[in-house]
Protein backbone atom coordinates (compact mmCIF):
# COMPACT_ATOMS: atom_id res chain seq x y z
CA UNK A 1 0.00 0.00 0.00
CA UNK A 2 1.60 3.19 -1.11
CA UNK A 3 0.62 6.55 0.31
CA UNK A 4 2.06 8.29 -2.74
CA UNK A 5 -0.97 7.48 -4.88
CA UNK A 6 -3.06 9.94 -2.90
CA UNK A 7 -2.51 13.31 -4.48
CA UNK A 8 -2.64 16.67 -2.83
CA UNK A 9 -5.87 17.42 -4.60
CA UNK A 10 -7.55 14.30 -3.23
CA UNK A 11 -6.42 15.17 0.22
CA UNK A 12 -7.70 18.72 -0.07
CA UNK A 13 -10.99 17.46 -1.50
CA UNK A 14 -11.69 15.04 1.34
CA UNK A 15 -10.76 17.64 3.93
CA UNK A 16 -12.94 20.20 2.15
CA UNK A 17 -15.88 17.84 2.09
CA UNK A 18 -15.45 17.04 5.75
CA UNK A 19 -15.33 20.71 6.67
CA UNK A 20 -18.45 21.36 4.62
CA UNK A 21 -20.34 18.55 6.32
CA UNK A 22 -19.30 19.73 9.75
CA UNK A 23 -20.20 23.31 8.93
CA UNK A 24 -23.66 22.26 7.80
CA UNK A 25 -24.07 20.29 11.00
CA UNK A 26 -23.01 23.20 13.19
CA UNK A 27 -25.37 25.55 11.41
CA UNK A 28 -28.29 23.21 12.03
CA UNK A 29 -27.86 23.96 15.76
CA UNK A 30 -29.89 27.07 16.46
CA UNK A 31 -27.65 28.36 19.26
CA UNK A 32 -24.59 27.98 17.07
CA UNK A 33 -26.33 29.77 14.22
CA UNK A 34 -26.96 32.79 16.43
CA UNK A 35 -23.32 32.60 17.47
CA UNK A 36 -22.18 32.60 13.85
CA UNK A 37 -24.34 35.64 13.09
CA UNK A 38 -22.87 37.53 16.05
CA UNK A 39 -19.34 36.61 14.99
CA UNK A 40 -19.97 37.73 11.41
CA UNK A 41 -21.20 41.13 12.59
CA UNK A 42 -18.26 41.37 14.98
CA UNK A 43 -15.75 40.71 12.20
CA UNK A 44 -17.58 43.24 10.04
CA UNK A 45 -17.30 45.84 12.82
CA UNK A 46 -13.66 44.97 13.37
CA UNK A 47 -12.83 45.57 9.72
CA UNK A 48 -15.09 48.49 8.87
CA UNK A 49 -15.99 49.89 12.30
CA UNK A 50 -13.34 52.63 12.43
CA UNK A 51 -14.47 53.83 8.98
CA UNK A 52 -18.13 53.91 9.99
CA UNK A 53 -17.49 55.93 13.13
CA UNK A 54 -19.04 59.39 12.71
CA UNK A 55 -16.39 61.04 14.89
CA UNK A 56 -12.83 60.42 15.94
CA UNK A 57 -13.20 58.42 19.16
CA UNK A 58 -10.51 60.33 21.05
CA UNK A 59 -9.88 63.63 19.26
CA UNK A 60 -13.39 64.93 18.54
CA UNK A 61 -15.47 66.67 21.20
CA UNK A 62 -19.21 66.48 20.94
CA UNK A 63 -20.92 69.84 21.33
CA UNK A 64 -24.55 70.95 21.28
CA UNK A 65 -25.97 73.73 19.12
CA UNK A 66 -24.66 76.42 21.44
CA UNK A 67 -21.20 74.91 21.25
CA UNK A 68 -21.14 73.66 24.83
CA UNK A 69 -19.31 70.42 25.47
CA UNK A 70 -21.74 67.54 26.05
CA UNK A 71 -20.39 65.76 29.10
CA UNK A 72 -21.99 62.51 30.18
CA UNK A 73 -25.13 63.11 28.14
CA UNK A 74 -27.54 60.27 27.44
CA UNK A 75 -28.39 59.19 23.92
CA UNK A 76 -29.57 62.04 21.69
CA UNK A 77 -29.71 62.87 18.00
CA UNK A 78 -26.19 64.38 18.15
CA UNK A 79 -24.70 61.32 19.83
CA UNK A 80 -26.93 58.25 19.35
CA UNK A 81 -25.24 56.37 22.21
CA UNK A 82 -24.51 59.38 24.40
CA UNK A 83 -21.20 60.88 25.40
CA UNK A 84 -18.44 60.12 27.89
CA UNK A 85 -17.51 62.30 30.81
CA UNK A 86 -14.87 63.89 28.55
CA UNK A 87 -17.47 64.72 25.91
CA UNK A 88 -16.50 61.99 23.43
CA UNK A 89 -18.95 60.13 21.20
CA UNK A 90 -19.63 56.64 22.55
CA UNK A 91 -20.96 55.24 19.27
CA UNK A 92 -17.67 56.16 17.61
CA UNK A 93 -15.66 54.65 20.45
CA UNK A 94 -17.70 51.48 20.24
CA UNK A 95 -17.25 51.19 16.47
CA UNK A 96 -13.53 51.96 16.60
CA UNK A 97 -13.05 49.74 19.64
CA UNK A 98 -14.11 46.63 17.77
CA UNK A 99 -10.88 46.53 15.78
CA UNK A 100 -8.31 46.14 18.60
CA UNK A 101 -10.66 43.63 20.22
CA UNK A 102 -10.78 41.67 16.95
CA UNK A 103 -7.01 41.85 16.45
CA UNK A 104 -6.23 40.51 19.92
CA UNK A 105 -8.89 37.83 19.58
CA UNK A 106 -7.89 36.68 16.13
CA UNK A 107 -4.13 36.60 16.58
CA UNK A 108 -4.22 35.57 20.23
CA UNK A 109 -6.52 32.70 19.26
CA UNK A 110 -4.46 31.68 16.24
CA UNK A 111 -1.21 31.87 18.20
CA UNK A 112 -2.72 29.79 21.00
CA UNK A 113 -4.13 27.22 18.60
CA UNK A 114 -1.09 26.81 16.36
CA UNK A 115 1.50 26.76 19.13
CA UNK A 116 -0.54 24.43 21.32
CA UNK A 117 -1.34 22.15 18.40
CA UNK A 118 2.30 21.79 17.39
CA UNK A 119 3.51 21.21 20.95
CA UNK A 120 0.79 18.63 21.56
CA UNK A 121 1.42 16.88 18.25
CA UNK A 122 5.20 16.63 18.66
CA UNK A 123 4.95 15.72 22.33
CA UNK A 124 2.40 12.98 21.80
CA UNK A 125 3.96 11.61 18.63
CA UNK A 126 7.56 11.31 19.75
CA UNK A 127 6.92 10.47 23.42
CA UNK A 128 9.97 9.74 25.58
CA UNK A 129 12.19 12.63 26.63
CA UNK A 130 10.69 15.02 24.06
CA UNK A 131 7.31 14.47 25.67
CA UNK A 132 8.77 14.78 29.15
CA UNK A 133 10.43 18.13 28.39
CA UNK A 134 7.43 19.63 26.59
CA UNK A 135 4.98 18.47 29.24
CA UNK A 136 7.08 19.88 32.07
CA UNK A 137 7.08 23.13 30.12
CA UNK A 138 3.28 23.08 29.98
CA UNK A 139 3.20 22.25 33.70
CA UNK A 140 5.30 25.34 34.23
CA UNK A 141 2.92 27.60 32.34
CA UNK A 142 0.08 26.03 34.27
CA UNK A 143 1.76 26.85 37.56
CA UNK A 144 2.48 30.45 36.68
CA UNK A 145 -0.76 32.28 37.37
CA UNK A 146 -1.70 34.19 34.22
CA UNK A 147 -3.21 37.41 35.58
CA UNK A 148 -0.51 38.29 38.12
CA UNK A 149 2.34 37.39 35.76
CA UNK A 150 0.82 39.36 32.88
CA UNK A 151 0.27 42.36 35.15
CA UNK A 152 3.85 42.08 36.34
CA UNK A 153 5.25 41.99 32.80
CA UNK A 154 3.06 44.85 31.62
CA UNK A 155 4.18 47.20 34.38
CA UNK A 156 7.73 47.20 33.11
CA UNK A 157 7.07 47.48 29.42
CA UNK A 158 4.60 49.82 27.80
CA UNK A 159 1.65 47.70 26.79
CA UNK A 160 0.99 47.58 23.07
CA UNK A 161 -1.73 45.57 21.43
CA UNK A 162 0.80 43.17 19.84
CA UNK A 163 2.71 42.65 23.06
CA UNK A 164 -0.52 41.83 24.85
CA UNK A 165 -1.41 39.36 22.10
CA UNK A 166 1.97 37.65 22.45
CA UNK A 167 1.72 37.44 26.24
CA UNK A 168 -1.78 35.97 26.01
CA UNK A 169 -0.80 33.33 23.43
CA UNK A 170 2.32 32.61 25.48
CA UNK A 171 0.14 31.67 28.41
CA UNK A 172 -2.79 29.99 26.69
CA UNK A 173 -1.10 27.49 24.34
CA UNK A 174 -0.95 24.98 27.18
CA UNK A 175 -4.69 24.27 26.90
CA UNK A 176 -4.72 22.88 23.32
CA UNK A 177 -1.29 21.30 23.88
CA UNK A 178 -2.55 18.98 26.60
CA UNK A 179 -5.72 17.96 24.80
CA UNK A 180 -4.04 17.42 21.43
CA UNK A 181 -1.29 15.36 23.08
CA UNK A 182 -3.79 13.10 24.80
CA UNK A 183 -5.53 12.55 21.48
CA UNK A 184 -2.28 11.87 19.61
CA UNK A 185 -1.28 9.31 22.23
CA UNK A 186 -4.28 7.16 21.38
CA UNK A 187 -3.81 7.65 17.60
CA UNK A 188 -0.14 6.72 17.63
CA UNK A 189 -0.89 3.07 18.27
CA UNK A 190 -3.55 2.77 15.58
CA UNK A 191 -2.96 0.58 12.54
CA UNK A 192 -3.06 3.27 9.86
CA UNK A 193 -0.22 5.14 11.56
CA UNK A 194 1.85 1.98 11.91
CA UNK A 195 1.23 1.01 8.28
CA UNK A 196 2.27 4.48 7.13
CA UNK A 197 5.55 4.02 8.98
CA UNK A 198 5.95 0.51 7.65
CA UNK A 199 5.43 1.64 4.08
CA UNK A 200 8.38 3.96 4.47
CA UNK A 201 6.90 7.32 5.47
CA UNK A 202 9.33 9.35 7.58
CA UNK A 203 8.49 10.64 11.04
CA UNK A 204 7.67 14.14 9.86
CA UNK A 205 5.48 12.86 7.04
CA UNK A 206 3.65 10.42 9.30
CA UNK A 207 3.16 13.09 11.93
CA UNK A 208 1.84 15.82 9.65
CA UNK A 209 -0.03 13.80 7.00
CA UNK A 210 -1.36 10.84 8.93
CA UNK A 211 -1.68 11.87 12.55
CA UNK A 212 -2.28 15.60 12.31
CA UNK A 213 -5.43 15.54 10.11
CA UNK A 214 -7.14 13.40 12.74
CA UNK A 215 -6.52 15.87 15.54
CA UNK A 216 -7.18 18.93 13.40
CA UNK A 217 -10.80 19.27 14.57
CA UNK A 218 -9.63 19.60 18.16
CA UNK A 219 -7.04 22.10 17.01
CA UNK A 220 -9.81 24.17 15.37
CA UNK A 221 -11.98 23.92 18.43
CA UNK A 222 -9.25 25.19 20.73
CA UNK A 223 -8.28 27.92 18.30
CA UNK A 224 -11.87 29.13 18.50
CA UNK A 225 -11.82 28.94 22.29
CA UNK A 226 -8.47 30.71 22.15
CA UNK A 227 -10.17 33.62 20.38
CA UNK A 228 -12.68 33.96 23.21
CA UNK A 229 -10.06 33.55 25.92
CA UNK A 230 -7.80 36.11 24.28
CA UNK A 231 -10.61 38.65 24.01
CA UNK A 232 -11.61 38.05 27.62
CA UNK A 233 -8.01 38.26 28.84
CA UNK A 234 -7.22 41.42 26.89
CA UNK A 235 -10.43 43.07 28.09
CA UNK A 236 -9.62 42.09 31.68
CA UNK A 237 -6.11 43.49 31.42
CA UNK A 238 -7.43 46.69 29.86
CA UNK A 239 -10.03 46.95 32.60
CA UNK A 240 -7.31 46.78 35.25
CA UNK A 241 -5.48 49.59 33.46
CA UNK A 242 -2.92 47.45 31.65
CA UNK A 243 -4.20 47.87 28.13
CA UNK A 244 -2.66 49.60 25.15
CA UNK A 245 -3.00 53.28 26.09
CA UNK A 246 -3.01 54.45 22.48
CA UNK A 247 -6.12 52.60 21.26
CA UNK A 248 -9.76 52.56 22.19
CA UNK A 249 -10.73 48.98 22.87
CA UNK A 250 -13.98 47.81 24.43
CA UNK A 251 -12.06 46.77 27.55
CA UNK A 252 -10.51 50.21 27.82
CA UNK A 253 -13.92 51.88 27.48
CA UNK A 254 -15.08 49.90 30.49
CA UNK A 255 -11.94 50.92 32.36
CA UNK A 256 -12.74 54.58 31.63
CA UNK A 257 -16.32 54.42 32.84
CA UNK A 258 -15.40 52.43 35.95
CA UNK A 259 -12.43 54.64 36.77
CA UNK A 260 -14.36 57.85 36.39
CA UNK A 261 -16.94 56.47 38.82
CA UNK A 262 -19.83 56.83 36.39
CA UNK A 263 -21.11 53.25 36.31
CA UNK A 264 -23.98 54.32 38.50
CA UNK A 265 -25.35 56.87 36.04
CA UNK A 266 -23.95 56.30 32.58
CA UNK A 267 -25.59 53.05 31.51
CA UNK A 268 -25.26 54.16 27.88
CA UNK A 269 -21.49 54.20 28.37
CA UNK A 270 -21.34 50.79 30.09
CA UNK A 271 -23.68 48.71 27.96
CA UNK A 272 -22.23 48.95 24.41
CA UNK A 273 -18.72 47.63 25.26
CA UNK A 274 -19.96 45.25 27.96
CA UNK A 275 -22.62 43.68 25.75
CA UNK A 276 -20.19 43.63 22.83
CA UNK A 277 -17.59 41.60 24.71
CA UNK A 278 -20.15 39.32 26.36
CA UNK A 279 -21.88 38.62 23.02
CA UNK A 280 -18.66 37.76 21.23
CA UNK A 281 -17.18 35.48 23.90
CA UNK A 282 -20.49 33.72 24.46
CA UNK A 283 -20.97 33.20 20.71
CA UNK A 284 -17.57 31.57 20.33
CA UNK A 285 -18.41 29.08 23.06
CA UNK A 286 -21.86 28.35 21.66
CA UNK A 287 -20.33 27.56 18.27
CA UNK A 288 -17.54 25.59 19.94
CA UNK A 289 -20.04 23.52 21.92
CA UNK A 290 -22.02 22.59 18.83
CA UNK A 291 -18.80 21.63 17.07
CA UNK A 292 -17.68 19.61 20.08
CA UNK A 293 -20.85 17.55 19.88
CA UNK A 294 -19.83 16.50 16.36
CA UNK A 295 -16.20 15.70 16.96
CA UNK A 296 -16.54 14.00 20.33
CA UNK A 297 -18.20 10.69 19.49
CA UNK A 298 -18.61 9.84 23.15
CA UNK A 299 -21.29 12.43 23.79
CA UNK A 300 -23.07 11.58 20.55
CA UNK A 301 -25.65 9.22 21.88
CA UNK A 302 -29.10 8.89 20.48
CA UNK A 303 -31.33 11.48 22.05
Amino acid sequence: MSTETITWRDRAATVGEKVQNQLAFVLSDRMALVGVLVMVSFVFLGVFGPMLAPHDPIEDDIRDDEGDLLRLEGPSSVAPLGTTVYGKDILSQFLAGARPTLIVGLFGGLGTGVLGFLVGLVSGYYGGWVDEVLMRLTDLTFSLPFMPMALLLLTFVTPSIWLITVIIAGFLWKMPARVVRAEVLTLRERTFVKSARASGAGHLRTMFFHVAPNVLPIGFLYTAYGVAWAIAAAASLAFLGFGDPTTTSWGRMLRMVFDSGNIRVAWWWVFPPAIGIAAVTTSVFLIGRAYEEIINPEIQTEQ
Partner: protein
Amino acid sequence: MSDFQRFLAKRIGIAIGLTLIAVTIIFVVLRMLPGSPFESLITAGNLTQGQVDEIMALYGLDKPIWQQYLIYLRNILTFQFGYSILQSQPVWDILAPKLANTLILLVPALVTTAVVSTLLGMYVGWNRGSKAETASIIGTTFLRSTPVFITAIFFVIIFSYTLDLVPAFGMRSITATPDGLLDTYMSMDFLHHYILPFTVTVLFYSGDFLLLARNGVVEKKGSEFLKLHRAKGLSENEQLMRAGRNSMLPVITYFALRLGMIFQGLILLEVVFAWPGIGRALVLAIQQQDYPLVQASVFIMALAVIIMNLVADVLYAYFDPTVSVSGGGA
Protein backbone atom coordinates in the same frame (compact mmCIF):
# COMPACT_ATOMS: atom_id res chain seq x y z
CA MET B 1 8.23 1.31 47.11
CA SER B 2 4.89 0.68 45.46
CA ASP B 3 4.03 2.17 42.09
CA PHE B 4 1.83 4.70 43.74
CA GLN B 5 4.56 5.84 46.13
CA ARG B 6 6.99 6.19 43.25
CA PHE B 7 4.41 8.22 41.33
CA LEU B 8 3.81 10.39 44.39
CA ALA B 9 7.53 11.00 44.89
CA LYS B 10 7.91 11.97 41.24
CA ARG B 11 4.98 14.40 41.33
CA ILE B 12 6.24 15.99 44.55
CA GLY B 13 9.68 16.34 43.02
CA ILE B 14 8.17 18.04 39.98
CA ALA B 15 6.13 20.37 42.19
CA ILE B 16 9.27 21.41 44.08
CA GLY B 17 11.11 21.99 40.81
CA LEU B 18 8.23 24.08 39.48
CA THR B 19 8.17 26.15 42.66
CA LEU B 20 11.87 26.92 42.28
CA ILE B 21 11.44 27.89 38.64
CA ALA B 22 8.38 30.03 39.36
CA VAL B 23 10.21 31.80 42.18
CA THR B 24 13.20 32.39 39.92
CA ILE B 25 11.03 33.85 37.19
CA ILE B 26 9.46 36.26 39.68
CA PHE B 27 12.97 37.29 40.76
CA VAL B 28 14.17 37.78 37.20
CA VAL B 29 11.11 39.76 36.16
CA LEU B 30 11.30 42.03 39.17
CA ARG B 31 15.06 42.64 39.23
CA MET B 32 16.21 42.44 35.66
CA LEU B 33 13.64 44.52 33.90
CA PRO B 34 14.33 48.24 33.75
CA GLY B 35 12.89 50.58 36.34
CA SER B 36 13.43 49.22 39.84
CA PRO B 37 11.11 50.81 42.38
CA PHE B 38 14.07 52.39 44.10
CA GLU B 39 15.12 54.23 41.00
CA SER B 40 12.24 56.64 41.32
CA LEU B 41 13.20 57.15 44.96
CA ILE B 42 16.78 57.94 43.97
CA THR B 43 16.09 60.03 40.90
CA ALA B 44 13.66 62.11 42.93
CA GLY B 45 16.89 63.55 44.23
CA ASN B 46 15.94 64.13 47.83
CA LEU B 47 18.43 61.61 49.17
CA THR B 48 22.16 61.90 49.68
CA GLN B 49 24.39 59.16 48.31
CA GLY B 50 24.89 57.92 51.88
CA GLN B 51 21.15 57.54 52.42
CA VAL B 52 20.80 55.76 49.09
CA ASP B 53 23.53 53.29 50.05
CA GLU B 54 21.86 52.74 53.38
CA ILE B 55 18.51 51.89 51.79
CA MET B 56 20.16 49.65 49.21
CA ALA B 57 22.02 47.82 51.99
CA LEU B 58 18.83 47.47 54.00
CA TYR B 59 17.18 45.64 51.11
CA GLY B 60 20.39 43.79 50.23
CA LEU B 61 20.66 45.53 46.87
CA ASP B 62 24.35 46.37 47.29
CA LYS B 63 25.42 42.74 47.03
CA PRO B 64 26.18 40.94 43.75
CA ILE B 65 23.11 39.64 41.98
CA TRP B 66 23.71 35.95 42.69
CA GLN B 67 23.98 36.66 46.41
CA GLN B 68 20.78 38.64 46.24
CA TYR B 69 19.20 35.68 44.53
CA LEU B 70 20.26 33.25 47.25
CA ILE B 71 19.07 35.53 50.02
CA TYR B 72 15.80 36.02 48.15
CA LEU B 73 15.36 32.26 47.75
CA ARG B 74 15.99 31.61 51.42
CA ASN B 75 13.61 34.35 52.49
CA ILE B 76 10.74 33.60 50.18
CA LEU B 77 10.80 29.86 50.70
CA THR B 78 10.65 30.37 54.46
CA PHE B 79 7.80 32.86 54.00
CA GLN B 80 9.86 35.83 55.15
CA PHE B 81 8.58 38.40 52.75
CA GLY B 82 10.28 41.44 54.24
CA TYR B 83 8.81 44.89 54.65
CA SER B 84 6.44 46.76 52.42
CA ILE B 85 8.21 49.80 50.96
CA LEU B 86 5.25 52.11 51.15
CA GLN B 87 3.38 50.91 54.19
CA SER B 88 6.43 50.27 56.41
CA GLN B 89 4.86 47.13 57.79
CA PRO B 90 5.91 43.51 57.44
CA VAL B 91 4.44 42.23 54.18
CA TRP B 92 2.93 39.25 55.90
CA ASP B 93 1.01 41.50 58.34
CA ILE B 94 -0.51 43.27 55.36
CA LEU B 95 -1.24 40.20 53.28
CA ALA B 96 -2.54 37.78 55.91
CA PRO B 97 -5.86 39.58 56.53
CA LYS B 98 -6.30 40.11 52.76
CA LEU B 99 -5.70 36.44 52.16
CA ALA B 100 -8.35 35.63 54.77
CA ASN B 101 -10.81 37.99 53.08
CA THR B 102 -10.23 36.31 49.73
CA LEU B 103 -10.61 32.81 51.13
CA ILE B 104 -13.76 33.65 53.06
CA LEU B 105 -15.33 34.80 49.81
CA LEU B 106 -14.07 32.11 47.50
CA VAL B 107 -14.00 28.81 49.32
CA PRO B 108 -17.70 28.81 50.28
CA ALA B 109 -18.61 30.07 46.80
CA LEU B 110 -16.61 27.37 45.08
CA VAL B 111 -18.01 24.60 47.28
CA THR B 112 -21.55 25.85 46.70
CA THR B 113 -21.15 26.06 42.95
CA ALA B 114 -19.43 22.65 42.74
CA VAL B 115 -22.28 20.93 44.56
CA VAL B 116 -25.22 22.79 43.03
CA SER B 117 -23.97 22.93 39.44
CA THR B 118 -22.83 19.32 39.47
CA LEU B 119 -26.25 18.13 40.57
CA LEU B 120 -27.89 20.36 38.00
CA GLY B 121 -25.50 19.13 35.31
CA MET B 122 -26.29 15.51 36.12
CA TYR B 123 -29.99 16.27 35.93
CA VAL B 124 -29.87 18.01 32.55
CA GLY B 125 -27.46 15.42 31.15
CA TRP B 126 -29.95 12.71 32.08
CA ASN B 127 -32.77 14.65 30.45
CA ARG B 128 -30.88 15.32 27.27
CA GLY B 129 -32.64 17.43 24.68
CA SER B 130 -35.05 18.95 27.21
CA LYS B 131 -35.77 22.67 27.49
CA ALA B 132 -33.97 22.71 30.83
CA GLU B 133 -30.83 21.45 29.14
CA THR B 134 -30.89 24.08 26.41
CA ALA B 135 -31.59 26.87 28.87
CA SER B 136 -28.92 25.80 31.32
CA ILE B 137 -26.34 25.47 28.57
CA ILE B 138 -27.01 28.93 27.15
CA GLY B 139 -27.08 30.43 30.64
CA THR B 140 -23.88 28.86 31.89
CA THR B 141 -22.08 29.40 28.57
CA PHE B 142 -22.81 33.08 28.90
CA LEU B 143 -21.70 33.14 32.54
CA ARG B 144 -18.46 31.27 32.11
CA SER B 145 -17.29 32.81 28.86
CA THR B 146 -18.05 36.44 29.67
CA PRO B 147 -15.15 38.05 31.52
CA VAL B 148 -16.14 38.03 35.18
CA PHE B 149 -15.82 41.78 35.64
CA ILE B 150 -18.52 42.35 33.05
CA THR B 151 -20.94 40.02 34.81
CA ALA B 152 -20.03 41.76 38.04
CA ILE B 153 -20.73 45.18 36.55
CA PHE B 154 -24.12 43.99 35.25
CA PHE B 155 -25.00 42.69 38.70
CA VAL B 156 -23.90 45.88 40.43
CA ILE B 157 -26.00 47.95 38.04
CA ILE B 158 -29.06 45.76 38.52
CA PHE B 159 -28.97 44.87 42.20
CA SER B 160 -27.16 47.81 43.74
CA TYR B 161 -27.91 50.82 41.60
CA THR B 162 -31.30 49.99 40.15
CA LEU B 163 -32.98 47.84 42.78
CA ASP B 164 -30.90 49.22 45.64
CA LEU B 165 -30.90 45.87 47.44
CA VAL B 166 -27.27 45.48 48.37
CA PRO B 167 -24.22 47.73 48.66
CA ALA B 168 -22.14 48.00 45.49
CA PHE B 169 -18.71 47.70 47.01
CA GLY B 170 -16.57 47.11 50.05
CA MET B 171 -16.69 44.42 52.70
CA ARG B 172 -18.41 46.41 55.40
CA SER B 173 -19.98 49.80 55.97
CA ILE B 174 -17.54 52.64 56.39
CA THR B 175 -18.86 53.29 59.87
CA ALA B 176 -18.50 49.68 61.01
CA THR B 177 -15.53 49.00 63.25
CA PRO B 178 -15.69 45.29 63.87
CA ASP B 179 -13.79 43.85 66.68
CA GLY B 180 -12.65 40.27 66.65
CA LEU B 181 -13.13 37.54 64.09
CA LEU B 182 -16.72 36.71 64.88
CA ASP B 183 -17.78 40.29 64.55
CA THR B 184 -15.85 40.76 61.30
CA TYR B 185 -17.23 37.83 59.40
CA MET B 186 -20.53 37.00 61.07
CA SER B 187 -22.34 40.32 61.22
CA MET B 188 -25.40 41.21 59.16
CA ASP B 189 -23.46 44.11 57.71
CA PHE B 190 -20.79 41.75 56.40
CA LEU B 191 -23.39 39.38 54.99
CA HIS B 192 -25.10 42.26 53.25
CA HIS B 193 -21.85 43.13 51.46
CA TYR B 194 -21.00 39.47 50.93
CA ILE B 195 -24.00 38.30 49.01
CA LEU B 196 -23.36 40.01 45.67
CA PRO B 197 -19.70 39.00 45.13
CA PHE B 198 -20.58 35.54 46.42
CA THR B 199 -23.40 35.15 43.90
CA VAL B 200 -21.31 36.33 40.99
CA THR B 201 -18.51 33.91 41.93
CA VAL B 202 -20.96 31.02 42.19
CA LEU B 203 -22.44 31.83 38.79
CA PHE B 204 -19.10 32.41 37.10
CA TYR B 205 -17.77 28.99 38.04
CA SER B 206 -21.06 27.14 37.63
CA GLY B 207 -20.63 26.51 33.90
CA ASP B 208 -17.54 24.35 34.07
CA PHE B 209 -18.94 22.05 36.73
CA LEU B 210 -22.32 21.84 35.05
CA LEU B 211 -20.85 20.87 31.69
CA LEU B 212 -18.40 18.37 33.17
CA ALA B 213 -21.16 16.62 35.09
CA ARG B 214 -23.52 16.77 32.11
CA ASN B 215 -21.01 15.30 29.67
CA GLY B 216 -20.08 12.65 32.20
CA VAL B 217 -23.67 11.52 32.59
CA VAL B 218 -24.35 11.70 28.83
CA GLU B 219 -21.30 9.52 28.16
CA LYS B 220 -22.34 6.99 30.78
CA LYS B 221 -25.95 6.91 29.73
CA GLY B 222 -25.60 4.25 27.06
CA SER B 223 -23.11 2.11 28.96
CA GLU B 224 -23.47 -1.51 29.98
CA PHE B 225 -23.56 -1.09 33.73
CA LEU B 226 -26.60 1.15 33.46
CA LYS B 227 -28.41 -1.41 31.35
CA LEU B 228 -27.77 -3.84 34.17
CA HIS B 229 -29.19 -1.40 36.70
CA ARG B 230 -32.22 -0.83 34.51
CA ALA B 231 -32.69 -4.57 34.14
CA LYS B 232 -32.45 -4.88 37.92
CA GLY B 233 -35.46 -2.59 38.07
CA LEU B 234 -33.87 0.51 39.62
CA SER B 235 -35.85 3.71 39.23
CA GLU B 236 -34.71 6.54 36.96
CA ASN B 237 -33.37 8.49 39.92
CA GLU B 238 -31.44 5.55 41.28
CA GLN B 239 -29.90 4.98 37.86
CA LEU B 240 -28.99 8.65 37.62
CA MET B 241 -27.24 8.53 40.99
CA ARG B 242 -25.13 5.61 39.78
CA ALA B 243 -24.30 7.24 36.44
CA GLY B 244 -23.47 10.42 38.34
CA ARG B 245 -21.20 8.68 40.81
CA ASN B 246 -19.21 7.24 37.97
CA SER B 247 -18.71 10.63 36.38
CA MET B 248 -17.55 12.33 39.57
CA LEU B 249 -13.84 11.97 38.87
CA PRO B 250 -13.37 14.88 36.49
CA VAL B 251 -15.49 17.03 38.78
CA ILE B 252 -13.32 16.27 41.81
CA THR B 253 -10.05 16.93 40.05
CA TYR B 254 -11.47 20.01 38.43
CA PHE B 255 -12.46 21.28 41.84
CA ALA B 256 -8.87 20.94 43.05
CA LEU B 257 -7.53 22.74 40.00
CA ARG B 258 -10.02 25.57 40.41
CA LEU B 259 -9.16 25.94 44.05
CA GLY B 260 -5.58 26.54 42.98
CA MET B 261 -6.50 29.23 40.49
CA ILE B 262 -8.93 30.80 42.87
CA PHE B 263 -6.81 33.80 43.82
CA GLN B 264 -5.81 34.87 40.39
CA GLY B 265 -9.22 34.31 38.84
CA LEU B 266 -10.85 36.76 41.12
CA ILE B 267 -8.49 39.70 40.98
CA LEU B 268 -11.06 41.32 38.72
CA LEU B 269 -14.00 40.59 40.98
CA GLU B 270 -12.16 42.05 43.94
CA VAL B 271 -11.41 45.17 41.96
CA VAL B 272 -15.02 45.66 40.82
CA PHE B 273 -16.47 45.05 44.27
CA ALA B 274 -13.58 46.78 46.07
CA TRP B 275 -13.28 43.62 48.12
CA PRO B 276 -10.15 43.94 50.27
CA GLY B 277 -8.61 40.65 49.13
CA ILE B 278 -5.18 39.58 47.97
CA GLY B 279 -5.93 40.12 44.27
CA ARG B 280 -6.85 43.74 44.76
CA ALA B 281 -3.82 44.15 47.03
CA LEU B 282 -1.63 42.89 44.18
CA VAL B 283 -3.09 45.32 41.66
CA LEU B 284 -2.62 48.22 44.07
CA ALA B 285 0.92 47.12 44.93
CA ILE B 286 1.83 46.94 41.24
CA GLN B 287 0.46 50.42 40.66
CA GLN B 288 2.46 51.72 43.61
CA GLN B 289 5.55 49.68 42.67
CA ASP B 290 5.69 48.22 46.16
CA TYR B 291 7.63 45.22 45.08
CA PRO B 292 8.12 43.20 48.27
CA LEU B 293 4.32 43.12 48.37
CA VAL B 294 4.05 42.25 44.66
CA GLN B 295 6.62 39.50 44.99
CA ALA B 296 4.90 37.94 48.00
CA SER B 297 1.41 37.98 46.52
CA VAL B 298 2.50 36.54 43.16
CA PHE B 299 4.43 33.86 45.04
CA ILE B 300 1.42 32.93 47.14
CA MET B 301 -0.76 32.69 44.03
CA ALA B 302 1.78 30.56 42.15
CA LEU B 303 2.27 28.29 45.16
CA ALA B 304 -1.48 27.77 45.46
CA VAL B 305 -1.65 26.69 41.80
CA ILE B 306 1.30 24.32 42.11
CA ILE B 307 0.02 22.66 45.27
CA MET B 308 -3.51 22.23 43.96
CA ASN B 309 -2.20 20.84 40.64
CA LEU B 310 -0.30 18.27 42.67
CA VAL B 311 -3.40 17.43 44.68
CA ALA B 312 -5.49 17.09 41.50
CA ASP B 313 -2.93 14.78 39.88
CA VAL B 314 -2.68 12.60 42.94
CA LEU B 315 -6.45 12.45 43.41
CA TYR B 316 -6.86 11.46 39.80
CA ALA B 317 -4.26 8.73 39.95
CA TYR B 318 -5.63 7.50 43.26
CA PHE B 319 -9.26 7.31 42.25
CA ASP B 320 -9.04 6.30 38.61
CA PRO B 321 -7.81 2.75 38.20
CA THR B 322 -7.49 3.19 34.44
CA VAL B 323 -4.76 5.82 34.81
CA SER B 324 -1.41 4.14 34.69
CA VAL B 325 0.61 5.55 37.59
CA SER B 326 3.88 4.71 35.90
CA GLY B 327 3.27 7.67 33.57
CA GLY B 328 2.02 7.97 30.02
CA GLY B 329 5.38 7.09 28.37
CA ALA B 330 5.91 4.94 25.31
